[in-house]
């Protein structure tokens, strides 16, 4: 049973990582916490489910469409709401975080109310990525849906890390995350990088929403759950660290599952928070966070 719980923890953790990766990228580049991140997840879930059930698109089309809509939403949010605040590299250094917090918080409420009006307060279950009863692998039972969802999630996480580490855009993102001012001086368009990061964050969150829509039916308020988990993960892993978000997500998933099984289900969400407190006490910058030094 330990193996089952471990595997389930890894699967859950992979989804958590997918949700948290975009949030930590936004923090890395803009130094803001996007309070509407959970709503990107919710919109992704709804787009996927509605395209599948109401428009009749098959999964191979509905899933990418949800990712594209999530990306577009992220891009729009940056263009319309963040762009005028962070006009250049200098303005990014001037501590505009409080405006971003207010704007993204308002956006979160707006998107929840909008979806409630558009699709109603109901939850809608998404389709399975594959039908069939669970398969037992070395005594661990996993459903075909979980296997495919995990494979897609891992593929996206790997692709994101490859892009971040080995592509020109990835280098630009990392450069802006390290020092926006210096990045601007060497000719990187920090506004474009910011938009790219918001679009990527929207796309990743939307993908997570779509992938989980079979197990966690999208509803207008569903975003609160991934948002809270993501905040815990990015602090746990180290604010702004993509590797920290992935490992933090996996760690949280495993701890929650083992704790729920071996201690008590009633305190499931508490285990992650206890871990967070311990990490903050022993390593205040998170597991992979760096101590920043301004000169």
């Amino acid at each position: 049973m330990f193996a089952s719980m471990l595997v389930n923890g890894i699967i859950t953790g992979a989804f958590y990582a997918l949700m948290a990766l975009g949030l930590t990228m936004i923090f890395g580049v803009l130094r803001i916490v996007n309070f509407a991140h959970g709503e990107f997840y919710m919109i992704g879930g709804f787009v996927y489910v509605l395209l599948y059930h109401n428009v009749g698109l098959s999964i191979p089309f509905a899933l990418p469409a949800a990712v594209v809509v999530g990306g577009l939403l992220g891009w729009l949010v940056d263009k319309l709401l963040m762009g005028p605040i962070y006009t250049d590299a200098r303005s990014m250094r001037q501590g505009r975080d409080e405006y971003a917090i207010i704007v993204t918080f308002a956006l979160s409420l707006f998107l929840v109310a909008l979806m409630t009006k558009l699709v109603g307060p109901w939850s809608l279950q998404g389709p399975r990525l594959a039908d069939g009863r669970p398969i037992a692998i070395a005594g661990v039972r996993v459903s075909p849906h979980q296997i495919i969802a995990l494979a897609v999630t891992v593929a996206f996480l790997l692709a994101s890390m490859l892009l971040l580490n080995h592509s020109l855009w990835g280098r630009q993102i990392r450069a802006v995350a390290q020092n926006r001012f210096a990045a601007a001086i060497v000719g990187i368009d920090v506004r474009r990088v910011s938009m790219l990061v918001f679009a990527a964050a929207g796309a990743l969150a939307a993908l997570a929403g779509a992938m989980l829509s079979n197990m966690i039916s999208p509803a207008p308020d569903v975003g609160a759950f991934p948002a809270i988990k993501s905040y815990v993960i990015i602090v746990l892993g180290g604010l702004g660290s993509p590797v920290g978000a992935i490992l933090g997500g996996l760690l949280l998933g495993i701890i929650e599952n083992l704790g729920a099984f071996y201690v008590s289900f009633a305190y499931r969400d508490t285990y992650g928070l206890v871990l967070l407190v311990l990490v903050l006490l022993l390593r205040p910058n998170g597991l992979f966070g760096e101590i920043r030094r301004e000169v």
Binding site: I102, F110, P121, L124, Q125, P134, F225, N257
Partner: protein
Amino acid sequence: MASRAHAVRWSVALLCCSVAMAGMPQTIQAEGTFDIGVSTILTPPGSVTQGVQARQALELVADWMNDQGGVVGKKIRLVVGDDQGTTEGGRTVAERLITRDKVSVITGQVSSTSVLASLEVAKKHNVPVVNVNGWASGIRTFGYRGVFNPGPYTTRVITATVDTLVALGSKKVFGAFDNTDAGFNLQKELRSQLAARAPGITYKDVTLDRTAKDYLPFVLQMQQDQPDVIVSELIAPAGYILMNQLFDQGVAPTKEVKFFEMGGMTDNPDFWQNVRESGKGILAFGHYHPKFKLPAIGVEFRKRFVEKYKTEPGRISFQAADALLLILDAAKRANSTESAALIDALEKANYEGTRGQITFDMTPGPTYHQWVDVPYAIYQITKVDQKLDDTVLLKQSDGPLDISLIQDP
């Protein structure tokens, strides 16, 4: 400065839009109307599905009766508040409906938590509450004279559940309850009734957070320590998630492990939008089944409901309709819409509602001011997308349980 102004502009605009879309409360008092407070769930964390069903039924009955001239010369006006199925929501909405909107009676509550929270407020102002769907025993055992219960109650639900478990020949049962007042109450009652009436059944249970999205650790526990029957009280959407995860892991429903749904979710209008294969084969407890013999007013209500909403009414619809019809009947008999007169008249109710002849028990305890014979059914869902009408009816409240009709999933 420009960016500061920009941020403030966007924030204000977004917040204003959110508030506008969420719906502004009704505050205008009308002259010559019978103002009835409706406290129900319109936004999470409570079951919005149930709240919307109640609101739809109440609005239908109010319009229907207004078309017939209203009651005691007044038009019926519903003043709606969203209690979210929470303690703070239940208390705040009750306070606002009574003190600001000056309603003389409150109904519409679909969660035990919000009913319990509103009781003290209603008692303080001597305003009657006609509870639509609060199951918890505390609502009755407090013995408040102004509270009336034409809907389901814990003792009845659990008695029927234990009867079913015994008839199924269960040896090992696992219960799943949510962390609400109704959940705790049902959990306690099931433990106690099983210990008294079926000591041979090995029983365990768990409390699950109704806002959680992943019950897999619990599901895997069921996989390891397989029971004969899993009994679930979780309401939507938590109940849907649990059912899907149990099915995905191949735990239930199966030939070996039956799933008994006693939270009354199966006639929710969004049931099949959220539950597909995992709904096939489950046993369900319900307070309404289309095969019930309905009184004339029930038949008429069902007809009007289908015409207006293009869907079959569920148990909550009937319960809400009866709550409002009882209030109107009391007003008619008292020839008054004053709270005190309504309480007196409701105590003497003997009214043929949409589901049967409703009277209220006066015995102190868990059936105080309760319609004791509230009907119920036990049925099995045998196909995906199955209409309630086509489910296999295993038992009506006044008949025996026929387990020979049960089909393997």
